[in-house]
Symmetry: C2
Subunit: 465 residues, 2 copies
């Protein structure tokens, strides 16, 4: 049904997206329709992230979709980075506009124009704002979820009184919001580190990143957190009076994750049967599948679903007995539902149902009265085992190398890891010419360095989506 992953990974990805009814191409090139099942996955991501973002002190707000072209030009690197990707509105309300407006590719410029109005004193700092929104970046080589002309994301924007505070907050978002969310909820063992100057966000002085390995050994940037220094503060004149009454520019951060994470989830955990969703994220954690509606099986299945929901599990009931049992099993596997509980009259007569785990395919008879507890155990196990599986695959596909040539070779099927000092910006350029990039720089112990100048930094290199 699906193209095997080993045969053609990009084709397998397209097949999963189409057949699990996750997304369709939009009518305008590069845009995307997010279908209900994928949108439910995104809503679960939003709920988990939103809670963590609010716990980090940021408040949600909403800024306009349309930005005057002139705003973008105020920060030189920023406009240079985004100009080629802009969608431009030239007509509104039946008339040609006096000044064309761009559809936001990101909101630094418009948000910072308001920060300049809202921030007066050190008492207004830190100002921590987040927005859930759509953004548009014209894509010439679109791929559903991974690169689309319009995507959904959250973008955080903050202003602080000092460089140290801004730096700490950018790290806090990376290591206390994004990384734990990705590890604990998405079951993705991300690497965290700094981007090199070459890979930095347009307008940032430092970009921190979470990088995951996909099933084909390529990297996916799952989220970034930027220190903006005072670049936008100067461009938009965002100043505050400090305790001594003198006027200073603020220090800023911005950070975001997007619907691209849905693509990462598919490519990191998926197998030849389709999606495998981590239970902590899955919109449906367990589906009770009625095999045949005989001898009280229908009632037992409905009762089990109700018990599971009462126990706080996201449960669904599949009682479509007019559809073949095999076809339904294939569909639930394709959709990556972590646990199936099969309820048939024959087993039920023996007081049993069958518990099937999507992560490892194990099938076990379970006593009916024990089913809810056993589902809970299976969900916990599956969450841990998906994470460990992804970690083991990443470790197996990561090679320690000594120079750029070896790094290139390592990047054919995974990550290469080498001393940043041994690669350097010159080596980085050579790799880039062959489509291999430095995904991040981290310390030997895997932690995020304070600066790019720390000695003994490790560079992780790979091909990337």
């Amino acid at each position: 049904m699906l193209t095997p992953r080993g045969q053609d990974f990009p084709r397998w990805y397209q097949d999963v997206v189409a057949k699990a009814e996750l997304a369709d191409n939009g009518p305008v090139r590069g845009t995307m329709v997010i279908r209900p099942y994928a949108y439910a996955i995104w809503e679960r991501m939003q709920a988990e992230l939103d809670r963590r973002i609010k716990a980090a002190g940021a408040q949600n707000a909403y800024f306009p979709l349309f930005i005057p072209e002139s705003f973008l030009r105020r920060e030189a690197e920023h406009v240079e980075g985004f100009s080629p990707e802009l969608a431009v509105v030239t007509h509104g309300g039946g008339k040609e506009l006096e000044e064309p407006v761009v559809v936001r590719p990101t909101s630094e410029t418009v948000i910072n124009s308001y920060f300049a109005k809202w921030i007066q004193s050190h008492r207004d700092l830190p100002l921590l704002v987040n927005q859930w929104a759509n953004v548009v970046r014209w894509e010439l080589r679109p791929r559903l979820f991974l690169r689309t002309s319009e995507f959904l994301w959250q973008e955080g924007h903050t202003a602080h009184a000092s460089r140290a505070e801004a730096r700490d907050y950018a790290r806090r978002i990376l290591n206390e919001v994004y990384e734990p969310f990705m590890v604990e909820v998405l079951a993705l063992p991300v690497l965290t580190g700094r981007k090199t100057a070459r890979e930095r966000f347009a307008g940032a002085v430092n970009t921190l990143t979470c990088e995951a390995m996909m099933g084909d050994g390529k990297a996916l940037q799952m989220g970034t957190s930027h220190e903006l220094g005072q670049n936008f503060a100067r461009a938009f004149d965002i100043t505050f009076s400090d305790e001594t009454g003198s006027q200073k520019h603020v220090w800023q951060t911005s950070w975001g994750v997007s619907t691209r994470m849905v693509g990462g989830l598919i490519m990191a955990h998926g197998d030849d049967a389709g999606l495998r969703l981590p239970p902590a994220l899955a919109p449906i954690q367990v589906v009770v599948v009625l095999v045949r509606a005989e001898d009280g099986a229908a009632e037992a299945a409905a009762a089990l679903r109700a018990e599971l929901e009462a126990a706080g599990t996201r449960a669904a009931l599949d009682d479509r007995v007019d559809m073949g049992f095999g076809r339904r099993s294939v569909e639930w596997e394709l959709k990556g539902v972590p646990v199936r509980l099969e309820v048939g009259p024959r087993e039920l007569a023996a007081g049993q149902v069958t518990l099937v785990r999507r992560d490892d395919g194990t099938k076990d008879p379970v006593v009916v009265t024990e089913a809810v507890r056993r589902v809970g155990v299976a969900l916990d196990d599956a969450q841990g085992s998906l994470l460990e599986g992804a970690r083991a695959r990443r470790e197996a596909a990561t090679t320690d190398v000594g120079d750029a040539d070896q790094a290139l070779e390592a990047a054919t099927g995974g990550f290469g890891r080498l001393a940043w000092a041994a690669l350097g910006e010159e080596g980085e350029d050579r790799l880039a010419a062959k489509g291999v990039t430095v995904r991040c720089l981290h310390r030997r112990d895997g932690t995020v360095p304070e600066t790019g100048d720390e000695p003994e930094l490790v560079a992780v290199v790979a091909r990337a989506y």
Copy 2:
């Protein structure tokens, strides 16, 4: 501080929006920045509505922002209605586009182009989809929340096998989702009914509406639910094979509510001191205000806030004792927080705190150990009393009249109510020429008629936002 409502209602509204830090004008004319406090109100609206929409069987999804111009032209009335309000993207990725795309003013056309692909058989029906999104309708006379060039909303789109099913679903959304939400959560006693042909949505065969009275006696359309008949089904060729195998066009609905409701909330409940938020909606239901940090008052205030939160109340602590107590009280009144609990050392020595209700201004000493319970009672009372107050104001400002001339006069400061047979489409046109519209037609008992031809229908007329 605020312009009094009685002196200049529109100015009072602007003052509340600005001083309660609800919204700012965006840099592009007609757009809006929704500041954190108003966005928190919107998030609470979203959460309450989303739950009800899902309970009505609809699933969330996401469709593209950009729609090819040609899609809009497929339904004649629809394009005629929306053409004057469109924003048009002519350039993308640095090039002029071959076909200009419009920024969605509503999504019937793009969603129905997918319904045509997804619906094959009667087994695919009903298809019930909802989306939370931004839409753009170029506004020449913008007013924050009420009329903005970009606004946030939910738009539901459904397809059914029969006209009766579609009609029932449009009514279900109106009477089981929108109306209970507005009455129970927003404390707004909305009238529900049908729009006349003149006021119908562009492309619909019937529009149902929820109408509320604002503080100045004008009406605000709070939400609409449309029967689309087979207009879009024919334009986009959405067909299904029924049980007998013959191909039929589907019957459809669409329905939406928007950030305009925030404006309605301000104008319906607000008074000369600012917002008054119904407790069921308020992001902060109770604020514990520390008067002075002496004699254990700070600890007592923090403990009270924790107890309130443990009891499931959305509570905040105001311990900004370096700011004047009066100024802080004015701020919380402006923001419409339903209950303040004032904690000062003097009262605390007597085992008491002061409970102040925002809805009616009552101030009562309360025994500390009773405070959490008393807050709960006050919140319940305030919810009911805001609803009853709004209902009483609407009744007092509604006049039963006999003809169009009397209706015009009634509409100078409230609603006019008369037999639809006595007004008729001719009378409706005469009113419209003077800026007065038929807000809805309902039965004598206030219920929604099945058709516009029922005898004894009542027309409610008013000036409207």
